[in-house]
Amino acid sequence: MLAEVGHFSLIIALSVALLQATLPLWGAHRNYTLWMAVARPAALVQFLFVVLAFVSLIALFLQNDFTVSYVAMQSNSHLPYWYKISAVWGGHEGSLLLWVLILAGWSAAVAVFSSTLPLDAVSRILAVMGWISIGFLLFILLTSNPFDRLLPNFPLDGNDLNPLLQDVGLIIHPPTLYMGYVGFSVVFAFSIAGLLSGQLDSAWARWSRPWTLIAWCFLTVGIALGSWWAYYELGWGGWWFWDPVENASVMPWLSGTALLHALSVTEKRKVFKAWTVMLAIITFSLSLLGTFLVRSGVLTSVHAFANDPERGLFILGFLAIVVGGSLTLFAFRASLFQVQGRYQLLSRETLLMLGNLLLMVATFAVLLGTLFPLISDALNFGKLSVGPPYFNLVFTPLAFAALLLMGAAPFIQWKKQEISSLIFSLRWQALLAVVLGIAVPWLYFDRIYWQVVLATGFSVWLAISMLKDLKNKTCHGTHFFAGLAALSRSYKGMILAHSGIAVLVIGACYTSFYSTEMNVRLQTNDSVTINEFRYVWLGVKTRQEQNYIATVGQVDVYRGDSLFARLYPEKRVYTVRQNVMTEAAIDGSLMRDLYVAMGDSFDDGAWALRISHKPFVRWVWLGALISALGGGLALTDRRFRLQRAASSAAAEGGAPGLKVNA
């Protein structure tokens, strides 16, 4: 009964979405207020029914209803209840439902928080989002229905959730990631609405920014969580592999970062309009492309869902309509875009333009590398693989260049900057960057690499530039902290966000070059030494859990003569699927991680162990979190709240729309 309720709710949601997508759009075109007024309630009702469907699915999992095919595939009666809930989005069908839920959620949010927007704008925006909902709901109902039944012959117990997914990572990573991916649909809808109405002014940019920023923050956290999860769960100690699915999430992030900066410039300086609109389209298109890559089976990945070319065809068709349609609209509305502001060759506008270019070239590089195997095969050049050696080589200089630009930005004025005064501002920064870039790794480690020198140097460059800029901005009379408090949150958010990137780069670079890893074979009481730590292997014990049996090893770690840490790596056999899983034991701290994983046992009772010493690896995720926090801080800037208050008063008065062309 519940499955039918869920199924039916989706059908109703689809019908409502149809109304949401058509009536307001036509209403905005012909100025029918009644039709436009359908938009907000439709979005809310659609959200309601999608929630109902989602809750039904959760209930089916909690009730162990194995007559439903999806539940039988993903769950098991012995699964702990929190995993039963998160198993809902552990497979293809359920994760799509999560996508639709989050999309409906964002639409509802736009419906609720758009009181300052004119009705025709809201109508168009919600209509566009409605079209996307239609696409995904159709996809679910026609090809990937989580509510399909298995009657009359159904299993007594389910197939169990993949043990890799029986982890807290599954509970938070997909929802956070999807909040980001799907969140970019809002700025996409804003852009399409703007192209349709012809109103693409500073107000448009200002309204789009908070929505884009929230999505960006979620995506940043989502990607960081995924990396962190892979690190401790997969047992090989890596945190990024440039796997196609990972790349699918990083491309919208890179593009979204460019979009954020472009929106800021468009709002402030009225330039880059066409570029910003195109970026909004591209960013969401990359989200959709990611959905395609992960579910169509064209690329091999450990993270991919069950692969089905028929489903892939549907998504590709959907992509053609959405992306093709929006890019066509973009091309035909080219006349909307006329350059308004002017700026010199050396100016902050140019700097931001170069920064955007860097980010988009990085996006291109990741896309090219990910799709190149397909290109090679399509041109009959055989199969080849593109992996970390390529991506790291291409990405690293781009990251350094980004740090370079970030560190120069505060000293380059809008419109025009004198080169002599710029060099003057930057001289100490440059000098310290060079000196510390070499000195810090040299003193901290016994060997240096030019990539590490560059990473350190550029990070120092950025750090000093921020300190100097802060000093300049707070030195007017009062106390430093008072000055600090007076600075806008938007600015402080930017400082944090940029710092986060530098922290990330340092972490990535240092851990890549200074990690030590050893595969050893140890008998009980044997030990091995890496750097200043001595690892003593003390054999295994067995432990029974709810749905697995664990072989638990013990490693005592000594630093000098004192016991530093006790680590318990595990090998688990999950009873239903008979999978064997490695659970690494990690002693983590800010400056280094100690990582121990068990391999197989030998006939003589010895065990194979992988022991790694990873300096600075936590800086990677810390940096990402700091960046996301910076974004969050910028969101709370008074400007957004004040603007809402002032504008809602003006909107009440109903000033006639001035069609400002570009």
Partner: protein, 162 residues
Amino acid sequence: MPILLSVLKIGFIVVLLSIKALTAEAAIDVYDFNTPEQEKRFQTLTEELRCPKCQNQTLADSNADISKDLKARIYTLMSEGKSDEEITDYLVERYGDFVRYRPPVNPLTLLLWFGPLVLFLSTAFILLWRLRRMTKTPPEDTPTDATRLHDVIRQYSDHTPQ
């Protein structure tokens, strides 16, 4: 028809149950090396080579039988004194370029290796050159009072939503 569907679905589940699903087994093969540099070399080699059969894993991280065999072969070749290039060529000869995570540099992959750089340089050049040309020509409209007033009105209307 519904019965057929159910039978197919059960069959699918049965097949699923019998397939050994994704595992996170750390592939820890222990080899003895003379020097830590040798061990590091082996590590780098196996990290840049792909398991021919897994779902996107390096030889270093894969527990598949074929990976174990290939690692053993690499170890043997290393002890015979072969260079990294020779070892890579050995494997490419047997398994194709697919096993290299660092794609070769040939006429096809030129696009891959140099594409991003060329794109960046050419686009940056074009943009900066156009910008330079635009700023060199004097502005078409020198601001007059009327234009300034117009600008102020526009500014105001920009700050109030329509």
